[in-house]
């Protein structure tokens, strides 16, 4: 930059920036460390974190472990056709004797429930995380652009969000999923991502827009603009990282919501299709036999409830830790 082009205003801005940015930096790290310390003090949040980590590890490694210990995969169906009833209660073998092989019992076809539940967990968690990421990408971009550009563009963009917000979206999603039902399990899974991701970004967009609106007039943005940083770069390098706190909190609370919606859709037979299984579709299968084989519903149901419970506590704890002012809700 040529010296004579620096106006007094810009010079002031630049002079202000360095201590400001340095201050921001030191403050930034201690904010996260502070939050982490506050989170560890919250017993329920730590409980949630531990359970979520354990269930994730169990879901990822479980089916392989079971295969190496007992020698069957989640979709292994015993071939000897001696029994009419193949669904055994927990810890019971084919002849009614005690057995370690099926701690959660077996399903109608004689498949091991524990292995099925763990494999279902992979799909449930995967759907929750991927759909949340989709909603993060769409929501952050949309909200940040609306907030940064402002004016009429912002107005129109947020009106669109308002209209979409007031739609009974689950109803529309049910129509989408039942009309475009895919013949393959993978096709249906992709459809599910589109359906879940496309409806859950709205709140994220509102949160990010609010944050960007309050940030965009601060000195560090002025400084960035003064030094010739382009608009998109200001939005994604300078503004978006500063909105991360609320975004992380909201994302943590979005995962259980999406998992619940996925389970709801799978329960109705519109979500995850066989041979894939999720907690929702396992529970749906279990409901059919509730009177005779209650364990078919109870184990996937309770595992799912425990996971959602932990994720919700973790999300609440993160919110308290990252933003003590929002404590009351």
């Amino acid at each position: 930059m040529e010296p004579e082009k620096i106006s007094p205003e810009m010079a002031v801005a630049e002079a202000d920036v360095r201590p400001e940015e340095a201050g921001e930096f030191v403050h930034g790290t201690s904010l996260w460390r502070d939050a982490w310390r506050r989170l560890l003090k919250n017993k329920l949040a730590v409980f949630g974190l531990v359970v979520v980590v354990l269930i994730t590890i169990a879901s990822v490694t479980g089916p392989t472990l079971i295969k190496s210990i007992f020698g069957f995969t989640p979709d292994y169906i015993p071939t000897q056709d001696t029994q009419l009833v193949r669904s055994f209660p927990p810890f019971t073998g084919p002849n009614g004797q005690f057995s370690w092989a099926h701690p959660m019992g077996t399903d109608n076809a004689g498949r091991d429930q524990l292995a099925r539940v763990l494999q279902g967990g992979q799909i449930s968690l995967f759907v929750g995380i991927i759909a949340t990421l989709v909603s993060l990408v769409i929501g952050i971009s949309y909200g940040a652009i609306a907030g940064y550009v402002g004016g009429r563009v912002d107005n129109v963009m947020m009106r669109v969000v308002d209209v979409l917000y007031s739609l009974p979206y689950v109803i529309v999603v049910i129509v989408l999923l039942s009309m475009f039902r895919s013949q393959t399990a993978r096709g249906q899974l992709i459809l599910l991502f589109i359906a879940l991701g496309s409806v859950s970004w709205l709140t994220m967009a509102r949160i990010v827009r609010g944050q960007v609106l309050s940030l965009k007039n601060q000195e560090f943005v002025l400084a960035a603009r003064a030094t010739g940083v382009s608009g998109p770069r200001i939005v994604f390098r300078h503004l978006v990282p500063n909105t991360l706190g609320p975004v992380i909190v909201y994302a943590t609370l979005t995962i259980p919501q999406i998992m619940l919606t996925e389970a709801f859709l799978s329960f109705l037979g519109l979500g995850v299709q066989a041979p894939l299984a999720s907690w929702g579709s396992l529970a749906a299968d279990g409901v059919q036999n509730i009177a005779i084989f209650p364990w078919q519903l109870i184990f996937p149901g309770v595992t799912m409830a425990l996971t959602l419970f932990s994720l919700n506590f973790l999300g609440d704890g993160l919110r308290d830790a990252l933003d003590p002012q929002m404590r009351t809700t």
């Binding site: 329920l44 308002d162 209209v163 007031s166 739609l167 009974p168 689950v170 109803i171 529309v172 049910i174 129509v175 989408l176 039942s178 009309m179 475009f180 259980p256 619940l260 389970a263 709801f264 329960f267 109705l268 929702g280 529970a283 749906a284 279990g286 409901v287 509730i290 009177a291 209650p294 519903l297 109870i298 149901g301 309770v302 799912m304 409830a305 425990l306 959602l308 419970f309 919700n312 506590f313 609440d316 009351t328 809700t329």
Partner: protein, 308 residues
């Protein structure tokens, strides 16, 4: 206030058009149609039926006709699956079922949720507070399609106290389990919202004034704190109604109730276009109308809110 209502109506109508268009487009863009099922009709018969329902006309004519019938005459057409029955008849028959379950569930949730939430707020950080908030979190985390069957297992199949399913008219014992199942999650949300709202209000100046002028604690809580503390609950009513609609879909399926949700799922799976569009339009109109009522109630309850 009148201007506010008019403005809300002006946004509501485009929203309804968007919903109907979206649903219509989804049904039409999807491969296949109502007649592409397993049982193939002879071409001549299919042609006659198509003529009868106006399906032989160009798509824009059909779209315009559907839209005009719904918006101008509230006429949703005739169901393809339930022959000879108009969508309006089906809605009129199934709405009371959904409404009974939904309204009872929401009232129960309000009663229990507000009580639990207020107790938690008044005894903040006590054992009561932690217990009720853990319970509320449990209510949010247990999916209703798990809770419902477990209630059936306990109260119908083991204790034989209550019927496990089916519609038994209003009022009847059959309603108890569906209502409990549906209300659990709203109870939990309302308890959390009440606690949050009450905590904020109890710290405010006007509550201190009320206490300072010597009102009894009961009067302070019931006449002053609750009115302000319940504002978050009032504004939650809008979204709650939307969730209530989806909740009923599952609950009606579990308990085999002939409500709107059950018909909607059947219609979607059968590709019964007029019935799908009819129910979607009906639900959207109800929802948007309710949301407007909630906003008006909000302005009435909280004099600080002014719409302009």
């Amino acid at each position: 206030m009148l201007r506010f209502i008019i403005r809300r109506l002006l946004i509501t109508i485009p929203t309804i058009i968007v919903v109907i268009t979206l649903t219509w487009a989804l049904i039409r863009l999807a491969p296949g149609n109502f007649y592409s099922g397993e049982k193939r009709l002879p071409p001549a018969i299919e042609k006659n039926i198509r003529e009868k329902y106006g399906l032989d006309k160009p798509w824009y004519e059909q779209y315009a006709k559907t839209m005009a019938n719904i918006l101008l005459r509230f006429d949703f057409g005739t169901s393809l699956r339930f022959e000879g029955q108009s969508v309006n008849t089906i809605i009129r028959r199934s709405l009371p079922v959904s409404a009974a379950v939904g309204i009872l569930a929401y009232l129960l949730a309000l009663l229990v949720g507000v009580t639990i939430g207020s107790i938690a707020a008044l005894k903040q950080n006590s054992r009561w507070d932690y217990a009720s908030m853990a319970l509320a979190m449990l209510g949010i985390s247990v999916p209703n399609f798990v809770l419902g069957p477990i209630l059936v297992l306990v109260f119908s199949l083991s204790l034989y106290w209550l019927p496990p399913s089916r519609w038994g008219g209003f009022p009847s014992k059959n309603l108890i389990l569906p209502v409990l199942t549906l209300s659990a999650i709203y109870m939990a949300y309302i308890a959390r919202l009440t606690r949050a709202g009450m905590l904020e209000v109890l710290r405010s100046d006007y509550i201190r004034t009320a206490r300072a002028k010597g009102l009894s604690e009961k009067d302070v809580v019931i006449r002053h704190a609750l009115r302000g503390g319940l504002m978050p609950v009032v504004s939650y009513t809008g979204p709650a109604l939307a969730f209530l609609l989806t909740g009923t879909v599952v609950v009606e399926r579990i308990f085999a109730l002939p409500g709107l949700g059950n018909y909607f799922i059947q219609a979607s799976l059968n590709r019964d276009e007029p019935l799908i569009i009819g129910i979607v339009a009906f639900i959207s109109i109800t929802l948007l109308f309710m949301n407007m009522l909630v906003d008006i109630a909000y302005a009435y309850l909280d004099p600080r809110v002014r719409y302009h």
